[in-house]
Symmetry: C2
Subunit: 109 residues, 2 copies
Amino acid sequence: MTEESIRVIPEACCTLDISGAEQEKLVTMFKAVGNPIRFEIMKFLVSRPGCITGDIVEYLPIAQATVSQHLKVLRQAGWIEGTVEGTATSYCLHEENIAWFRKRVNAIF
Amino acid sequence: MTEESIRVIPEACCTLDISGAEQEKLVTMFKAVGNPIRFEIMKFLVSRPGCITGDIVEYLPIAQATVSQHLKVLRQAGWIEGTVEGTATSYCLHEENIAWFRKRVNAIF
DNA sequence: GTCAAATATCGTAATAATACGATATAAGGA
DNA sequence: TCCTTATATCGTATTATTACGATATTTGAC
């Protein structure tokens, strides 16, 4: 006897309609924020917009050099923006890129 | 002379209001999809829902073992679901988790 | 110019991710 | 049972990421 349950394969629940440079940028942003420390930095920047590197170093349990490296990854991915202010650097979320991210994610998921 | 432009620090453009297990799950999902090959697999599954591993292997320029590994990462992150069908495994997007992802991302960004 | 402060970069060690070939596993058919 | 098919897992080499201490760079104060 061949008992066979018919499996319904649903329509895809999202389009993922993206390609080329936009896809690359989005994947890079996903990757950057797909790290626990970097996600924490993002959260910190929400609560402390314009704070300087030292504030983040103070907040996190890792070395200054490592924080600087993570900030670089976030900056290069487009999540944050650094502004040199004297000897310090002040960081903010990169509003434009985040708006782009939001829009893009909403379009494809 | 001290010329000083006043820099306006904007309100944060997103809340990132998430923590604990939910944050971990989201970061894991970001990380999984933050890889070009895995993103391509996701796109392929949108166009070919219910396809089997072999279809994906055929489509991608990488070895079967590597594809299987990437599928495992996507499965463990909650992006996809595999169903054993005879000797093959059929893959679909994990609708519930994707819905959760969409909702969560919309809430925090 | 010299010094201190803040941050970035360098060099490097340790760990994790990625990829592959080979092999194991599980299911169906002869 | 034995063979084939499809996929997963193992072992391992290569590459990338993460972390650190040390050092370089940049700016402002004196």
